[in-house]
């Protein structure tokens, strides 16, 4: 489009006077400062703004996992416990993504805990009292060995002990507590972005 036609076209539009004024009558005032090249926006993680939706465990299994998580990693000296860190909810997600053998370990382990609680104390694991849980969690007092226990409940307890601890210390809540000086730092480091 030639310059003359361009100006004619602009003149036919409602905003044309202003545009033309910009074009032919330079302002005598200093232009406003341009916005920063990179706008500094702040974002939140989903955990700070929403609650996880559960998919994997049954209601009974999840109730047992919550009880177990609280026993394994209670709040101590200002550090958040597993429940505050939403470790059970995170593990529900993690297990939903895990290989079948890991899923089976968790499902059979939680079902086994409920079955033992029902057999010994006539109630679900989520409802047993402190003395009773001590009995049911006896395998956790066995000395460490490299090979996982043959008993599926004992093998599950060993796995969940590590997972609950890690899900707690790697949580947002733990990180906030560490920032406030209420516990030691959780995990952190240099993250590799995907390579194109």
């Amino acid at each position: 489009m030639k310059r003359r036609r361009f100006i004619q076209a602009l003149a036919a539009t409602p905003a044309a006077p202003a545009l033309l004024a910009q074009q032919v009558q330079p302002s005598q005032q200093a232009p406003p400062a341009p916005p920063p090249a990179e706008a500094s926006l702040r974002y939140s993680l989903p955990d700070a703004a929403a609650e996880p939706v559960l998919h994997f465990f049954t209601a009974q299994q999840f109730a047992a996992l919550r009880k177990l998580s609280d026993l394994l990693m209670p709040p101590v000296n200002g550090a958040p416990g597993a429940l505050e860190a939403k470790a059970p909810e995170f593990l529900d997600f993690l297990l939903s993504q895990s290989p079948a053998d890991r899923q089976q370990l968790y499902r059979s382990g939680l079902d086994g805990l409920n079955a033992q609680a029902r057999k010994r104390f006539n109630k679900l694991f989520a409802d047993v009292d402190a003395g009773q849980t001590d009995t049911l969690l006896a395998p956790l007092r066995d000395p460490w060995s490299y090979d996982a226990p043959a008993d599926p409940v004992a093998a599950f307890l060993r796995a969940v002990k590590d997972d609950v601890r890690r899900a707690t210390t790697n949580s947002r809540e733990w990180n906030l507590a560490a920032s406030a000086g209420r516990t030691r730092d959780g995990g952190g480091g240099l993250y590799w972005l995907p390579i194109d």
Binding site: L94, G189, L190, W192, D196
Partner: protein
């Protein structure tokens, strides 16, 4: 590219005459980088191809907390199932197994850990920097098993002498026959009281100790990326092409000599052909062998792909607690403190005596002052929290690194039924550890436990279960050197017996690996081979 009048079918002879490069180097890691460093300094024009991209480390990595990662630091389940070193933080630095797969019998797992970037695995190695000795180079002479190398320690020592200053190796000279001293930045640090106790207990049993020997490098790396390639580029004699996935080495049918390679661009998959007078392969042990096998060359001996070996690793083999250091009662400090620091105990078995149930030996990489993992405590809840806190900084731990015997039936071959993302047939890996390694591991754990008890330390956990082969990322052999073209792929100069202008300069050339980390030896072999190659080219022999 075609000149005026060219119909696109010029003879290979004519193309060779026009080639711009004297040497084509495949791979930019320790071995390829050293070849470029040594050759370009002698005026040799080199073209380097690497399958990976160049990395801007400032832009590629960002600081994050574990809770900011999608899987809270656990990593995506099932991703990189063979790379036990992978975390959710570093998962993107390793080769994706779905992109470059390999096969193995499910009963014989193999952990093939790979990096495809300019600099290769030298970007991420543990920097443990040792020399081999004649206990390795002349191993058959010593115990009758396997084969000797075609070279002795004295042949390689002058090259170790040159490599160590480049990588700035810190260490202590102790005059150990099985771990020759080098050109070190002298480590004059002292020992904590705990370490003195452990070293004394070992000495009583004839077990020597030295300081860890570590490449200090420069800045944040001790890599080909920052120590070799910049100098090579500065000569004006090196051209680096990243993202070049080499598919095959091409050979002139008339002369039988290598004349270049076909490669594919990593991103577009466009195929290209590059020519040179000589081809030097340093693509990493198994990738180099895969390339030769896929090219159908250099295997008149039938040995190519055989004698795969590495070092077996047992991490956290014995985990103990020093009672006096519980509850922060004793200060941590490498020198003059009560606890902290570590050491390296090189091979001490089967040197002057003979063990009943295994050949060769193992090394111990040990440290004090760490914190035992919660899994070792038979507790849970608040009691566990207190125990972990009580033992913080009071731990002892050790990694066992054992020699694996090279065996003809420990091998790789091409699996033509499976291809990678670029259509290149993958490797099938067939190897496993045997009673020699298992018996050695049992001896190591029993020895460590005895030492801990002698020191009065409480053993929390012990095990002799090694990781699957490959874990150490010290894969060696499969393209070995030798004295005869009937029993080896390469001669004593890392030169193919079959194709005299083809050299393989990485860990695939090893005959035995000992228990020492191999990087210094790979670098020295590559420098030695490159010096020889440059001299042969100068004389017109190649």
């Amino acid at each position: 590219m075609a000149a005026a009048g060219c119909t696109g079918c010029r003879s290979i002879k004519k193309r060779m005459a026009e080639t711009k490069y004297d040497v084509l180097i495949i791979g930019s890691g320790a071995s390829g980088g050293m070849a470029a460093y040594a050759l370009t300094k002698k005026g040799v024009k080199c073209l380097m191809l690497d399958a990976g991209p160049p990395i801007d480390f400032e832009r590629q990595r960002v600081n994050k907390s574990a809770h900011e990662l999608p899987f809270r630091g656990f990593g995506k389940p099932g991703k990189l199932s063979h790379v036990f070193q992978a975390t959710e933080f570093n998962a993107n630095q390793w080769v994706d197994e779905t992109q470059v797969p390999y096969t193995h019998d499910p009963k014989e797992p193999y952990n093939w850990v790979r990096v495809r970037m300019i600099g290769g695995k030298s970007l991420f190695w543990a920097r443990m920097s040792f020399r081999l000795s004649d206990y390795e180079f002349r191993a058959k002479d010593h115990d009758g098993y396997g084969d000797n190398w075609p070279i002795s320690y004295s042949d390689l020592a002058p090259y170790y002498d040159q490599v160590e200053p480049i990588f700035r190796v810190r260490g202590r000279r102790d005059g150990l026959m099985q771990l020759p001293d080098g050109v070190f930045i002298e480590d004059t640090s002292g020992e904590s009281e705990c370490n003195k106790r452990f070293i004394a207990a070992a000495r009583e049993r004839g077990i020597p100790n030295t300081k860890m020997r570590t490449s200090m490098g420069r800045g944040q790396f001790a890599s080909s990326f920052n120590l070799l390639l910049p100098d090579a580029l500065a000569t004006g004699n090196l051209t680096i092409v990243p993202n070049a996935v080499v598919r095959e080495i091409t050979v002139d049918k008339n002369t039988g000599l290598a004349n270049g390679v076909n490669f594919l661009d990593r991103q577009s998959h466009r195929e290209m052909h590059a020519t040179a007078r000589v081809v030097v392969v340093g693509a990493s042990c198994l990738e180099s062998t895969r390339l030769l096998l896929n090219s159908g060359i250099a295997n008149s001996s039938g040995v190519l792909g055989h004698y795969l070996h590495d070092q077996f690793y047992i991490t956290q083999s014995v985990q103990a607690v020093v009672p006096e250091a519980r509850d922060g009662k004793s200060p941590n400090g490498f020198s003059g403190g009560f606890i902290g620091g570590g050491g390296y105990m090189p091979r001490f078995r089967n040197l002057k005596t003979k063990e009943k149930n295994f050949l060769r030996g193992y090394a111990l990489d040990w440290s004090t002052g760490g914190s035992p993992d919660a899994k070792y405590f038979p507790l849970y809840g608040e009691a566990l929290q207190k125990a972990v806190e009580s033992c913080r900084g009071a731990g002892f731990s050790c990694t066992v690194m054992g020699e694996v015997l090279p065996r003809a039936d420990s091998q790789v071959r091409v699996n033509k039924t499976v291809t990678d993302a670029w259509g290149i047939p993958v490797l099938h890996i067939q190897t496993h550890y045997t009673s020699n390694e298992f018996n050695m591991a049992k001896d190591a754990i029993a020895t460590l436990e005895e030492l801990c008890h002698t020191c009065g330390w409480e053993v929390l956990g012990r095990h002799d279960q090694m990781f699957p082969p490959g874990y150490s990322i010290h894969e060696l052999g499969t393209c070995r050197m030798g004295d005869s073209p009937k029993t080896s792929v390469l001669n004593k100069w890392n030169q193919s017996w079959d194709i005299k202008n083809l050299f393989v300069v990485d860990g695939s050339s090893f005959v035995t690996g000992g228990s020492q980390n191999p990087t210094m030896t790979i670098l020295s072999l590559s420098m030695r081979a490159s010096d020889y190659l440059a001299e042969q080219m100068r004389k017109g022999e190649i």
